[in-house]
């Protein structure tokens, strides 16, 4: 598919460094799917979908910086939804999000609630100002907040929020956030890795499974088409949590 033109109809400043863009076109995404977002004249980057008609972006580099320069009425080119997305399984589920990783989980939590599932969320952020989508998660079920600086909720990383839960209670655990956080959670879930679904971040260039830039060592899983959601047991023993590759393909 060619990029579809999407006009920005609303911009919400979620935090000083995170914004949500709503478009004049809606997608029918499986929560966890992503869009290839073309910022014309700048670059094309993958972004996970946070609303049926929106994405939530953290300003981290040139392309996301250019998104922050856009105003209502400007447009982007969008390819997608791409990738597999999360698969909702069981009756009682746990969502664990770190920072802007909360974005696809909010959509997932809402869909799970609609299906009558029991949803618990643990959100880890650096400080209370970085928290996003609090109302959406509270609307879906129980919410546990952790902050690195102790400004809200439990003081510590998202994993500190897990210690007050019995992970055996959950049929399925969904992760999205910084890789060290997700690797840490998978490490704490020995024997339960197969019921974890993690949305992982790699350098996507084509989004079609052909360029190889996102390939995961050692089996060569292609997260752009076989992911971005990958089961925890398939990540054990891989590069996940240890290294990734840059745009040239070199490990870093």
């Amino acid at each position: 598919m060619r990029p579809k033109n999407a006009k920005i109809v609303e911009i919400v400043c979620e935090t000083p460094s995170v914004r949500t863009l709503r478009f004049d076109i809606a997608f029918d995404p499986v929560p966890g799917q992503y869009l290839m977002v073309w910022i014309r004249g700048v670059d094309e980057i993958p972004m996970s979908i946070s609303y049926k008609d929106g994405i939530t972006v953290q300003q981290v580099g040139e392309a996301t910086g250019a998104i922050f320069d856009l105003e209502v009425g400007d447009s982007l080119g969008l390819r997608g939804p791409l990738g597999n997305g999360f698969s909702l399984l069981g009756e009682e589920i746990l969502l664990v999000g770190g920072g802007v990783g909360a974005a696809p989980l909010a959509l997932l939590g809402e869909e799970a609630k609609e299906r009558g599932m029991e949803v618990t969320t643990v959100l880890g952020v650096r400080c209370c100002d970085d928290l996003i989508f609090r109302e959406r998660f509270e609307g879906a079920g129980e919410l546990v907040i952790t902050t690195d600086d102790g400004s809200m909720g439990i003081c510590g990383r998202a994993s500190a929020g897990l210690s007050c839960l019995d992970l055996q209670d959950f049929d399925q655990i969904y992760l999205c956030g910084p890789e060290p956080m997700m690797a840490d959670v998978i490490g704490r879930c020995r024997g339960m890795e197969a019921k974890i679904q993690a949305s992982i971040d790699r350098y996507f260039k084509c989004g079609l499974g052909i360029c190889g830039s996102c390939s995961i060592d050692p089996e060569g899983i292609r997260p752009c088409v076989e992911g971005p959601v990958i089961r925890g047991d398939k990540l054990v023993g891989t590069e996940f949590g240890r290294y990734k590759r840059g745009p040239s393909g070199r490990k870093r």
Partner: protein
């Protein structure tokens, strides 16, 4: 099942269906996965002297009948690539390193800096300044670069040709004079797509190369012409996505086939076995050996 094994361009293969250069060959893990999925040999993504991030996105866009890409030769440089070749070899088939450079000296530096089972010279990438087709559309360059690499390594050397010329056979003959063990045809066709809403070219590089089903008839004609004028084997690539396509390439004169864009189809890596399986059944049904099929279209002048 009819046997598909044999030698292609100086390399023994269980079957002649290979992974094409530029597709998934960035990492050893991908090369190994292609090999374990039934590829007869695998070709790496092109590697050069210096590390390159490639062009800005969009680097790939789907268009009518195929894909348009301008990846821009992203690679970690040959200095950081030997490990990937070694991991790829764990798949049990030959790993051919696709290499590029802007001069004979650069090609030789990369070739002598890598231990691979063969080299494929990228003299055909249509969207990188100073590289690929910019030098590979001149017969003099093709011949001198081929000769220089051939004189510096002891493994087979293949030359991948650009179709963006009036007479691809002239390039093939130049590669043959330079001592190539095979030619590979074709690389992508120069192409462009424009976004009508913004009036902007879609690719970050503005222009790129077209691959996929749309270019298969061009590839078949190129293979037919090359096979008619060269002594060395021709390896067919361009839009092969089924065993029938592979069969057509062989009948046109190809001794081997490479698959690229079709790896993006839903069956993914499964395409190697579906092509080689279909090819084998076809030969069985026809009561023919693979060698008898090569260039069979020549019977009809």
């Amino acid at each position: 099942m009819a046997s598909l094994s044999g030698e292609v361009g100086g390399i023994w293969m269980d079957n002649p269906v290979m992974l094409a250069a530029g597709i998934l060959g960035t990492t050893g893990a991908s090369l190994r996965r292609a090999a374990l999925s039934g590829a007869g040999a695998v070709v790496t993504k092109s590697v050069g002297v210096a590390e390159r991030d490639g062009h800005r996105g969009p680097a790939v866009v789907q268009v009518e009948g195929g894909l348009l890409n301008a990846m821009g030769l992203p690679n970690p440089s040959y200095r950081h690539f030997q490990e990937e070749i070694d991991i790829g070899r764990g798949g049990g088939v030959a790993v051919i390193a696709s290499i590029f450079g802007s001069s004979p000296a650069e090609f030789v530096e990369v070739a002598t800096g890598l231990d691979a089972d063969g080299f494929e010279l990228n003299l055909s990438c249509p969207h990188a300044e100073r590289y690929g087709a910019e030098i590979g559309c001149e017969v003099y360059n093709v011949e001198t670069i081929t000769r220089a690499v051939k004189g510096s390594v002891s493994v087979p050397v293949w030359v991948k040709l650009t179709p963006n010329v009036a007479d691809i056979s002239a390039l093939g003959l130049a590669a043959e004079r330079g001592g190539a063990d095979a030619v590979v045809a074709i690389n992508t066709l120069k192409a462009m797509a424009i976004d009508v809403e913004s009036c902007r070219p879609i690719l970050g590089n503005r222009f790129g190369g077209l691959s996929g089903p749309a270019i298969k008839p061009v590839a078949v004609k190129s293979v037919y012409d090359l096979a008619g004028s060269l002594e060395i084997p021709v390896i067919g690539v361009g839009g092969v996505s089924s065993w029938e396509d592979a069969c057509e390439m062989i009948i046109a004169g190809a001794r081997g086939i490479q698959v690229g864009t079709a790896l993006g189809n839903p069956e993914g890596y499964g395409i190697f076995r579906s092509i080689s399986g279909g090819l084998s059944s076809y030969l069985e049904r026809k009561g023919m050996a693979l060698q008898e099929l090569v260039g069979a279209a020549r019977r009809f002048p």
